[in-house]
């Protein structure tokens, strides 16, 4: 299990004259929690968008599970086992909690062209819905419209939906953003539990969280990989301090 699940090499992406990523490289070990940090505007989200396939890189390569996926469409990457959550919570606000979860459960099936049976009584939904909701602690809230959940609960739902496809790699884009202290604790617990099931790539601002959860940290500065290593090494690295941590 020590091989690399995700291998990113020399990724470059420019938007017009703006270089969002240049020479971004990353290796994520199977079963680890890998954090991607960097100051604002370092290109973390652009990097994540390229990994999830929403943006096609200008150059470089992405290897997932030994397979090149550099130019693969995002929904096909999901089928290989790459899932992501969003920085800005994007649950389907006017659907109920259970419909949100049901949608993420049926997402991995190719044939959803079923026009008659109620979506909540579809066999894969019946089988997985309860457990999926319990994993993120939202079973009691399942009939509620997702837009009426608290911010923390939305984030939990969001992560739960991302998990429903049983991904091999889970990419979380700032799961703590906008959460109060209680929510952060809840989410940290959830991520710790998830760690046993899947590999996690975490983009996060909250340094306390990153250093307590991550096995490996990659630091991104000006769109480029500055360094990569275990938390202790990163904490001790002078260049990282200069570029990033010193600001704190």
């Amino acid at each position: 299990m020590t091989e690399n699940l995700l291998q990113v090499h020399g990724l470059c992406k420019s938007f017009g004259a703006v270089r969002a990523n240049s020479n971004f490289s990353l290796s994520v070990r199977s079963g680890s929690v890998h954090a991607l940090i960097g100051p604002n505007g370092a290109g973390k989200t652009t990097a994540l968008n390229q990994l999830s396939g929403e943006i096609v890189p200008d150059s470089g390569s992405i290897l997932f599970n030994g397979r090149t996926i550099t130019r693969m469409k995002s929904y096909n990457r999901v089928k290989l086992g790459i899932a992501r959550s969003f920085q800005i919570t994007s649950v389907f606000e006017s659907l109920s909690v259970e419909e949100n979860m049901a949608l993420s459960i049926i997402a991995k099936y190719r044939n959803n062209f079923k026009f008659w049976q109620n979506c909540l009584s579809a066999p894969p939904v019946l089988e997985g819905l309860t457990r999926a909701l319990e994993t993120v602690g939202l079973h009691e809230r399942k009939k509620i419209q997702a837009g009426h959940l608290s911010h923390g609960e939305k984030k939990q739902l969001e992560v739960g939906m991302t998990l429903a496809g049983k991904p091999k790699l889970l990419m979380l884009d700032e799961p703590m953003a906008g959460m109060g202290p209680g929510g952060t604790v809840e989410m940290s617990k959830l991520i710790r539990r998830l760690k046993e099931k899947t590999t996690i790539l975490l983009v996060e601002h909250d340094m306390e969280v990153v250093f307590s959860l991550a096995d490996t940290i990659t630091v991104l500065v000006s769109g480029e990989t500055l360094t990569s290593g275990p938390p202790e090494a990163i904490r001790a690295d002078e260049r990282v301090r200069a570029a990033y941590l010193g600001d704190d």
Binding site: S90, L95, S104, N112, W116, Q117
Partner: protein
């Protein structure tokens, strides 16, 4: 959609009214109401099919009348070739049999929807509105140019389609014939929006990027939704041509697309039953106000503005006691 008692009562009461209407109209000697309400049922069918696109798929199409007209022309052209006893393009024999004509109309308008949809759905937002409008106008002018079938003047049919056991030329039987199709289509649509397919479609309309991030390629779902809506409009068009025994390019003019959209908005976007209410109000107002003034739209305009401002979920949505789309 039927999540509260008010709506359930409204739907049941509405259904009973529509079923009893011919009897009451005959009793009071107002036979005119039967043909007026037949027209309402037919437009309601087209409006419900448009609601699948607008209200559930989030696809604002301004070319829905194209399918309405294509369905109508299938009836007209098959009738023409049957009465001339000369096959269409030398191979397709004409027909007056409703069991052949109506399915053909549905099929042909669905095929048009496949072609138009597969190209239009590559665009989004304003571009999608414009490209569907452009396709509809293209088809409109194509039929204007078809001299063989009357061109601008259209084509008269002299008779309705025929069917075993039913006499469609009888207005009461034809009314129930249309009511049957409306009920079937609404029931199908009602199941559809709650099905797996419907859940995906609703998800796409709310946040397409998120749906793709979940692993669903959205394009084919949108296309199928577009085709189902197109087929529904085609059926409605075929029924309208049967009622009026006349078809012309006017049926697919873009103002008809606009009228269908207004019906959906008056009745309630994304409510399925609302567009039926919308169709009834629109056509009744057109009929009543039209008796006094040619410019009846002057009164329709303010009504539409009031509804859009104060009842975004339309008149049917008002029944839930809440205002916004969130109920």
């Amino acid at each position: 959609m039927l999540d509260n008692t008010g709506k359930k009562i409204a739907v049941s009461a509405g259904t009973i009214c529509l079923v009893l209407l011919p009897a009451v109209a005959t009793l009071f000697g107002h036979d005119y109401f039967i043909s007026l309400f037949t027209r309402i049922l037919i437009y309601a069918l087209a409006a419900v099919s448009l609601d699948l696109l607008l209200g559930f798929g989030g696809l604002v199409s301004l070319g829905h009348a194209a399918f309405f007209g294509v369905g109508g022309y299938v009836v007209g052209m098959l009738f023409y070739h049957a009465s001339e006893a000369q096959p269409l393009l030398g191979v397709i024999p004409g027909s007056e049999n409703a069991l052949i004509v109506l399915p053909s109309a549905v099929l042909v308008s669905a095929l048009f929807a496949v072609v138009i949809g597969s190209l239009s759905l590559r665009t989004k937002g304003m571009h999608f509105i414009m490209i569907t409008l452009a396709f509809a106008q293209m088809i409109f002018y194509f039929f204007v140019g078809l001299e063989k079938y009357g061109g601008d003047d259209g084509l008269s049919l002299y008779a309705r389609n025929k069917m075993a056991l039913l006499d469609l030329s009888d207005d009461i039987q034809f009314y129930y014939f249309c009511l049957f199709f409306l009920i079937i289509f609404v029931f199908f649509a009602y199941r559809l929006v709650q099905s797996r397919f419907g859940l995906v479609i609703r998800g796409i309309s709310l946040n397409e990027r998120r749906v793709r991030a979940l692993g669903i390629g959205s394009y084919h779902y949108k296309l199928v939704c577009f085709v189902i809506a197109g087929a529904g409009a085609g059926l409605a068009g075929a029924l309208l041509v049967n009622q009026t025994e006349y078809v012309s390019p006017g049926m697919m003019h873009w103002t008809i697309s606009g009228e269908l959209m207004v019906m959906v908005l008056i009745g309630g976007l994304g409510t399925l039953f609302g567009p039926i209410v919308g169709s009834a109000i629109f056509i009744l107002l057109e009929d009543v106000l039209g008796m006094y003034t040619e410019h009846w739209m002057v009164y329709m305009g303010p009504l539409l503005i009031l509804i859009v401002l104060f009842a975004p979920q339309g008149l049917f949505g008002l029944l839930s006691g809440k205002r916004g789309r969130d109920d």
